[in-house]
């Protein structure tokens, strides 16, 4: 078997009495598209935060292509090509959408940002235009972040994650805060753009329709533990998942779980 792109071994993390990661061991191979599901507080975002170095686990390891990255900082993890978006878009509100992307590009190019040259080079502008066009938000390039609607902010946040060398993309609830009509077009654009850049994608999602449609593998979390891992149909049909995750999601949306 080839070496997984990213794997975790026995990750444990507690916040006081709350168990956010309970012996989490998994492996994700190159080119997989993985959906992570779980009710609120199940440990999905904690998992992302540990993988990207924002949180350090109480015990356990995170390996990237066999390299131990558990103690690395978010900056070091990012430079390895593990890039993420956020549940609440993390942007630079004092800059235009295009300048947000140029900052991301310049950051990706060099660990020591240059002083001598200007930021707005034709090459960087072309790359920014390309990703804006791929995500169909080219018309918003000149606008400041606070002027952008929610969906465009989410797309811009995802675009920031896609600048530079890409090995693994982690999206934290890409469709949260997005209307029901917009969610599929948004995911189509995102998945199209990631496919072009041949990145492995892991996304956290509450919306089971999105998970069913876009994930090739689903991992379900409950109380910091992995309760199911496999093909979407199998995981979504799993009794525990229906009870603790899907049911909870339907309940959250005001629907009754199917019996």
């Amino acid at each position: 078997m080839t070496e997984p792109l990213i794997s975790t071994r026995n990750l444990n993390k507690r916040f006081g009495a709350v168990v956010a990661a309970d012996d989490v061991t998994l492996a994700i191979a190159q080119d997989e598209t993985v959906g992570i599901i779980g009710a609120n507080g199940a440990g999905k975002t904690t998992f992302l935060n540990i993988v990207t170095g924002y949180l350090k686990p109480d015990s356990g390891l995170v390996l990237f292509r066999g390299l131990d990255i558990t103690q690395k900082s978010p900056r070091e993890v990012t430079r390895l090509g593990i890039r993420r978006s956020f549940q609440v878009a993390q942007l630079f509100p004092n800059l235009s959408a295009r300048d947000n992307l140029l900052v991301a590009l310049a950051s990706a190019e060099s660990e020591w940002p240059t002083l001598s040259a200007i930021l707005r080079t034709p090459a960087r502008l072309a790359k920014a235009e390309e990703i804006l066009a791929d995500l169909k938000i080219g018309h918003a390039a000149e606008r400041l972040v606070p002027e952008l609607p929610q969906g465009q902010r989410k797309l811009l946040d995802i675009a920031l994650a896609m600048m530079g060398n890409l090995a693994l993309l982690l999206f934290d609830e890409p469709t949260s805060g997005i209307s029901a009509q917009e969610k599929f077009p948004l995911m189509d654009r995102v998945m199209g753009a990631t496919a072009e850049r041949s990145a492995t994608v892991v996304f956290i999602e509450h919306d089971m329709e999105i998970v069913e449609r876009y994930a090739r593998r689903v991992i379900a979390f409950y109380d910091g533990r992995i309760i199911a891992d496999g093909l979407p149909d199998a995981v979504l049909a799993n009794a525990d998942v229906r009870r603790y995750v899907v049911g909870a999601e339907l309940h959250r949306r005001g629907e009754r779980p199917h019996s």
């Binding site: 900082s73 900056r75 993390q90 630079f92 509100p93 900052v103 240059t114 002083l115 930021l119």
Partner: protein, 312 residues
């Protein structure tokens, strides 16, 4: 008009007009350019979110480095003294930067104030440096040339204008560079900058050293222009005034702090002359009016556009 050519033309005009300017205004403008350069450093730091209430540390260090160079080491060349002042402050800024850039907001402001007050305390208690009276500098020379006192003032004016506008050109370049725009991004979202792969600490350290260097050069220029230095240069009210003028000027353009400082020095000069006991009140009302009517500073008179990185 493009900024760098406009600044170059402004410099040529300022240098060309030197023989026509009355001597009192030559001195006022010299001090204004020197302090304007310090304010420019404060503005560059503010754009990255670092508001220092202790920039007088580097201003005082630059002035005392020039003073010590002139009085104790026999360096009288104005250009060398300016380089000495800038260099000493840059080194101090680099060393202290390792600690300072780990703090933000009020903690950064208060720690910078505390460091400046330590320098003030040392200067006040150093009898060898003239204690509270400070000491005088010998007249400066220029590349071996010893001018008469009047010409000397004009030459220092030329040096101050060249340093201030030259620095403005360089810093205009900086704020449009990747590091410059990233420093603005840090102002609003540090964690995202880290998650894009750039070290926030390194960028802030760089910005901090830029601020310290500008303050050191400005301090040395003031020392040469006034021919006298005393510990008040490092006192906290000096730092407060630098922040005051930075806010008054606005952070939207590199020319703003220079114009703002010239205006401030003019207002202060006339206010002291015509209302010697209440001039601080005049300055206070001017600040109130600015906050009410031009919250983005004087520069907003020239540019009503919202500031965005790379277009400022």
């Amino acid at each position: 008009m493009r900024t760098v050519p406009a600044l170059a033309i402004a410099l040529v005009v300022l240098l060309g007009a030197a023989p026509l300017i009355p001597l009192w205004l030559v001195f006022l403008l010299t001090v204004a350019f020197a302090r304007g350069l310090v304010v420019l450093g404060v503005v560059i730091m503010m754009r990255a979110g670092l508001v220092s209430f202790g920039q007088s540390l580097y201003y005082g260090l630059g002035a005392y480095a020039a003073g010590l160079g002139a009085n104790f080491y026999g360096v009288t060349d104005a250009i060398l003294l300016v380089l000495l002042g800038g260099g000493v402050s840059a080194l101090a800024g680099f060393a202290l930067g390792f600690v300072m850039v780990r703090y933000r907001e009020i903690f950064f402001a208060m720690l910078s104030l505390a460091l400046a007050m330590i320098l003030y305390g040392i200067l006040v208690r150093s009898a060898a440096l003239g204690s509270t009276d400070g000491f005088n500098l010998p007249p400066a020379t220029f590349l071996g040339f010893v001018p008469d006192p009047q010409l000397g003032h004009v030459l220092v004016y030329g040096l101050a204008a060249t340093m201030a506008i030259g620095s403005a050109m360089l810093l205009h370049r900086f704020i449009h560079s990747p590091a410059g725009v990233i420093s603005e991004a840090i102002l609003t979202n540090e964690i995202r900058v880290e998650y894009l792969g750039t070290s926030v600490i390194r960028i802030l350290h760089l910005v901090y050293v830029i601020g310290a260097t500008a303050a050191g050069v400005g301090g040395a220029l003031v020392a040469i222009a006034a021919g006298h230095i005393d510990p008040d240069l490092a006192y906290w009210t000096t730092s407060g005034e630098l922040v005051f003028v930075a806010i008054l000027s606005g952070t939207g353009h590199v020319a703003a702090p220079l114009l703002g400082t010239v205006l401030f020095e003019l207002v202060r000069s006339f206010a002291v002359q015509y209302s010697p006991y209440t001039w601080q009140m005049v300055i206070g009302f001017a600040m109130l009016a600015l906050i009410l009517f031009l919250p983005a500073g004087l520069w907003s008179l020239f540019s009503r556009k919202p500031r965005t990185g790379g277009t400022a």
